[in-house]
Amino acid sequence: MDGSTIFIKILLGIGLAFNVLGVVALYRFPDVYTRLHGTTKCTTFGSIFTSASVVVYSISKYVTTGDPRFMTFTIHVIIAIFALLITNPTAAHAIARAAHKSGIKPIGIVDKLSEEKAGEKFS
């Protein structure tokens, strides 16, 4: 039980907690947009933390064994993290726009976008 194992456990715990919160958000929130809020943020953050624990694990393996395979492993995991970080918000944005264009009204007190579109139709 050295320092890196404890660090890995802490990172994994944070990541798993946020991932599970993402699932809870998907069941609790009332409409598409609020669900997107919960899932996009929580799962991106959680997946980054679980992957970061894998990075710490492979770096500690590299330090103890000196095998260059673990260095490759680290680089590939970091590339995967950046892929998630770039693609996730873009996909969320695309889904939100598609949902709005297909005519799903958001639950809430104000909807500026629908007002703008209605105004354009009249004029």
Partner: protein
């Protein structure tokens, strides 16, 4: 040019395994980069400019990612966690006018908005730079940019448009 360099560096990173890189891998990387650049030539002419390669921009981008962006993301997650547990929401779509012109600055700001507290970009008007943002906890109906994303607009300007 940017696409070429990005694809070459990506390939070499995926191939690299601790030691030195053999010459045939470099040749394959350059050939694949050329093919990809040729296939993407009709996208945007801005991708071919060399100004995107200035190193100070990359340092600013890194400073942005590891400074205010990471802090905002952490805050966002605890905020969303609080709302998931208590179920207190007050959602709606608001309009924000920004002064950004560049497409890449807009993309960067939209992605940053999506990952920061309680906001989600729904639609962007490219000509006027108007953002339509879904806000999970509305405080006022006609907000300014500062209320929603803090200093991110200035950062996007600093990184891309200077």
């Amino acid at each position: 040019m940017v696409i070429f360099l990005a694809s070459v560096i990506m390939y070499l990173l995926l191939v690299w395994s601790g030691g030195s890189i053999p010459l045939n891998e470099v040749v394959i990387a350059i050939a694949l980069g050329g093919i990809i650049t040729y296939a993407c030539r009709s996208w945007s002419p801005g991708l071919y400019r060399m100004t995107a390669l200035r190193p100070d921009r990359w340092f600013k981008l890194l400073a942005f990612i590891f400074g205010p962006f990471l802090w905002g993301m952490t805050k966002a997650n605890f905020d969303v966690a609080y709302r998931v547990i208590t179920g207190k929401i007050n959602p709606g779509i608001v309009r924000v006018q920004t002064s950004l012109k560049n497409v890449y600055a807009m993309t960067m700001l939209a992605n940053s908005i999506t990952l920061t507290p309680g906001t989600l970009t729904v639609e962007v008007d490219q000509e006027s730079g108007t953002y339509y943002i879904h806000w999970i906890n509305i405080k006022n109906v006609e907000p300014s940019g500062k209320d929603i994303y803090g200093s991110f607009e200035d950062w996007a300007k600093k990184v891309v448009e200077e």
